[in-house]
């Protein structure tokens, strides 16, 4: 095939247009010129451009992320590596991270979501962990928008198609629909892996003259960022645009996991790094930079899927299912044997050097020779202007229209997009493979529970974000996001340990957006500190905008906790006939920014419920103690839709009716649908009621008896009275009904 390759001569003609097409500002380009003392060639320019891209350099977010609490007594590795590592006793470590794949999923939902799952798994097993659970946090546009169903279909099939095949259970997640995502959906995937604390692998290359191995799939022209580079410059048949969407191969990923773990059980690996965004470029530079060494690669040795690939293409390709590693000298054959056993491509493509430079050879010519330190040290680090989001008015329940028909209101809310059952989604995910899933989306519960294989302990995992609160008040909303994950872990009796995050925002060059970002981080960080609940990994996704319209600010958080004894945990499933319902936490009837307001009143205004971190901690610690002392049958936190929805969800999961009574003062709609924070609904045996209430009082914790469990109806005095079965059917029907018109279209 007659592919025109870029010649050295041509590359010396770096025009301002080419610089701009690479997303580099004139100032940034000047730094490159200063550092190199000459013009870069096209390969070098490409490498600088991806390393200094927002995605790799975090240039708009770095200084703000630095404020996060990142240390704690169980933290083995905080942000800065492929994933965070925490200690869960007995020599076991949990390694986890969340990442976005928003843009690719909008372009090609199936492959975009699938490769998102593949990418986050690699971040985890590259550190020596066997992936044991997947989660996902999805935001789609309005259900009625023409593109939404197709995106839901593709994304869900893609997540399932990848995770199911690799054989890692997808145990939970969250799904929102809102018009703010019509032009920019969010697909955030989280992976949790299990390793031994004494066998965690890092990415810092060490030593000089050590062999560098390339393993996995061959390199193709997938997802080359040069999208910005007119493709006509690269090939002659210009109507065949090169694919910019990566295609995933879960089969290879599965082999890669097994092969890497097999080699990791020996002492052959010095350093290892997956090739994620910006592929070979960022993996080699990160390994070299962290280890303070140089790297020399012979690009002719890189396994290639297509003919005539240029150095530029090889360095920028985002082909999936690839890893780079530094192997101990003398262990080369062992590495070859393991990867060949698993039928993976493997090649020794270079070695570490003492030059501190990245040197690339292609067809016996030097095609890149740049110092590595500036790529990292001189990466732009901007203090973008930001303005604080203006405060919204606090809305009193008494000033909000009160429905005249509570049955109808309950049904409207239970069938609203963000409350309705997501069974249609999670039944497409294998939740049981590996046979350690104790609880998953199946129960509609708060946190998934995954047993540590061969032990009697488990990790609890949750993902949460309430974008409407963050939009209303980034600071309070940021606190709320972290608090909700902490609460969800608490609900199952876990000790919350640490979080990962995926900060999805609009264009950071707009001060209002940057204001949301800064405000949310401030709130999140305060909550982290209040709970001693550090951030150990994360990801930032900016520029989520279409036609100047930014998505609602969506800092999704994934929380992980430990249940050290599986004899003491709770879910929302266990409520029993005759139980008493106790509500822990204070209810003021907060309807601002609530689901009631949006679904019944079509209003999205008002300040969001504030989070009292001290009360939150007090209440949670108490609930956790009750679970561990086996004083409760079922627990569920109050979140979207307030007490009424919490009670319905508990009733659905436990398959028994509930009767709410004993409202506190204030309007009924505020009592039932208000979204005050820091609250838990407990179902407890009669004889436990008094001790629980009096201990709460002693600790200064607000607790109310709010009803009973039993029968086949869902009732609230002076408000609704509907059949459990009927309400459940409607709760279950909304999403399948929405999808039914396209249901069978996914004939891939």
């Amino acid at each position: 095939m007659a592919k025109k390759t870029l010649t050295a001569k041509k590359t010396s003609e770096i025009t301002p247009e080419i610089v701009a097409e690479h997303g580099l500002s004139a100032d940034e380009y000047q730094i490159i010129l200063d550092r190199l003392g000459r013009e870069p060639n096209i390969n070098e320019l490409g490498i600088f451009s991806v390393m200094w891209s927002e995605h790799c350099s975090y240039k708009s977010s770095r200084r703000h992320l630095a404020k996060f609490l990142t240390e704690g007594k169980r933290v083995i590795q905080g942000p800065g590596e492929n994933a965070g590592v925490i200690d869960i006793d007995d020599g076991d470590a949990i390694i986890f991270k969340m990442e976005s794949h928003n843009h690719p999923s909008y372009i090609e939902p199936y492959q975009g979501a699938a490769t998102g799952v593949g990418g986050i798994m690699r971040d985890v097993f590259t550190m020596g962990a066997r992936p044991i659970a997947l989660m996902n946090a999805l935001r789609f546009g309005e259900p009625g928008h023409w593109k939404t169903k197709q995106l839901v279909n593709g994304v869900v099939a893609g997540i399932g198609g990848y995770g199911n095949c690799v054989g890692v259970p997808t145990v939970g997640g969250e799904t929102n629909f809102h018009k703010g995502y019509n032009g920019n959906i969010l697909v955030n995937a989280m992976c949790v892996g299990l390793a031994r604390t004494d066998n965690v692998f890092y990415s810092a290359a060490k030593g000089v003259g050590n062999p560098i191995f390339y393993v996995g799939s061959k390199t193709g022209r997938d997802g080359i960022h040069g999208a910005t580079m007119a493709s006509a410059e690269f090939d002659d048949d210009s109507d065949e645009k090169r694919p910019t969407v990566q295609v995933g191969d879960p089969f290879t990923e599965k082999l890669l996991i097994e092969a890497c773990l097999e080699l990791m059980a020996t002492d052959a690996i010095i350093a290892i790094q997956d090739m994620g965004a910006a592929g070979l470029t960022s993996s080699s530079i990160e390994m070299a930079d962290k280890g303070g060494v140089g790297i020399a690669l012979d690009l002719d040795k890189v396994p290639q899927r297509e003919e005539g690939m240029t150095p530029y293409e090889m360095m920028l390709s985002e082909s999936q299912e690839r890893m780079l590693m530094v192997i101990k000298p003398g262990k080369e054959q062992l590495a070859f044997d393991v990867f060949e056993k698993w039928e993976l491509d493997v090649a020794q493509i270079g070695k570490t050097t003492d030059t501190g430079r990245l040197v690339l050879k292609h067809k016996d010519k030097k095609v890149c020779d740049i110092p590595i330190a500036p790529l990292a040290d001189d990466a732009p680090n901007y203090d973008r202007p930001h303005v604080e989001t203006s405060k919204r008015k606090v809305i009193k329940a008494a000033d909000v229209y009160e429905t005249q028909d509570y049955n109808d209101a309950l049904i409207k809310i239970i069938t609203s997009p963000n409350i309705a059952s997501k069974r249609w989604i999670w039944e497409q995910y294998d939740r049981h493979v590996m046979t350690d899933t104790v609880d998953s989306s199946q129960s509609g519960g708060d946190a998934a529970i995954v047993r540590i294989h061969g032990s009697n302990k488990a990790v609890a995992i949750t993902t949460d974000c309430t974008p409407r609160y963050v939009e209303a008040d980034p600071y309070e909303g940021g606190k709320q996001v972290v608090a909700e994950t902490w609460r969800n872990l608490t609900c199952v009796g876990a000790e919350p340990i640490a979080i990962t995050d995926c900060l999805n925002f609009g264009n950071p060059e707009r001060p209002e957006i940057m204001g949301q970002f800064v405000g949310a981080i401030k709130g999140m960080n305060e909550a982290c500190r209040a709970f001693d609940y550090p951030v150990v990994s994360g990801n930032v996704s900016l520029y989520n905008e279409t036609n100047g319209q930014a998505i609602p600010p969506t800092p999704a958080v994934g929380g992980v906790g430990l249940i050290s004894n599986l004899n003491h945990f709770a879910t929302l499933k266990g409520a029993k006939d005759g139980d008493t319902l106790i509500l822990i936490g204070e209810t003021t009837g907060w309807l601002g920014a609530s689901i009631y307001l949006s679904e019944i009143q079509s209003r999205e205004d008002g300040a969001p419920p504030p989070v009292d971190l001290a009360a939150e901690k007090r209440n949670g610690d108490y609930v956790r103690t009750l679970i561990r002392n086996r004083r409760v049958h079922a627990v569920h936190d109050c979140s979207d839709g307030g007490l009424a929805i919490t009670a319905c969800e508990m009733a659905f999961a436990s398959d028994i009716g509930v009767h709410l009574s004993g409202a506190t003062s204030g309007p009924t709609h505020g009592w039932l649908f208000g979204e005050d924070q820091g609250r838990y609904l407990l179902a407890v045996e009669k004889h436990s009621v008094n001790p629980i209430m009096s201990t709460a009082q002693g600790k200064g914790i607000t607790a109310h008896i709010v009803g009973t469990v039993g029968g086949g109806r869902i009732k609230a005095d002076g408000a609704f009275d509907v059949s459990l079965q009927g309400l459940r059917e409607r709760h279950e029907a909304w999403l399948p009904d929405l999808m039914s018109s396209t249901d069978e279209k996914a004939a891939e």
Binding site: Y110, R221, D222, E240, V245, T252, R305, E306, S319, K745
Partner: protein, 82 residues
């Protein structure tokens, strides 16, 4: 009237399926196979119509763009048959 629609991956798109098939044929002793690609054929039965062929072809093209092919990663080709 029938329309045959052939849908295949665009050149350059990873095709793990094809690779696996070809390798497996080699394992079974079919050494002459040096590569394999798998695509779809969709056969459509169409109501008879008096419209000119080009109009029918254009309709089927629309079906491809809207549903039958994923044009981000796939190419298609249409054959009309009486």
């Amino acid at each position: 009237m029938k329309a045959l629609v052939y849908v295949g991956l665009k050149p350059g798109v990873l095709d793990p399926q094809g690779r696996t098939i070809s390798r497996s044929l080699n394992d079974l002793g079919f050494d002459e196979v040096t590569g394999a690609f798998q695509g779809k054929v969709i056969e459509l039965n169409l109501k008879n119509s008096d419209e000119p062929r080009e109009a029918i072809q254009a309709r089927v093209e629309q079906m491809c763009e809207k549903l039958l092919a994923n044009t981000v990663i796939e190419n298609y080709r249409i054959e009309l048959k009486d």
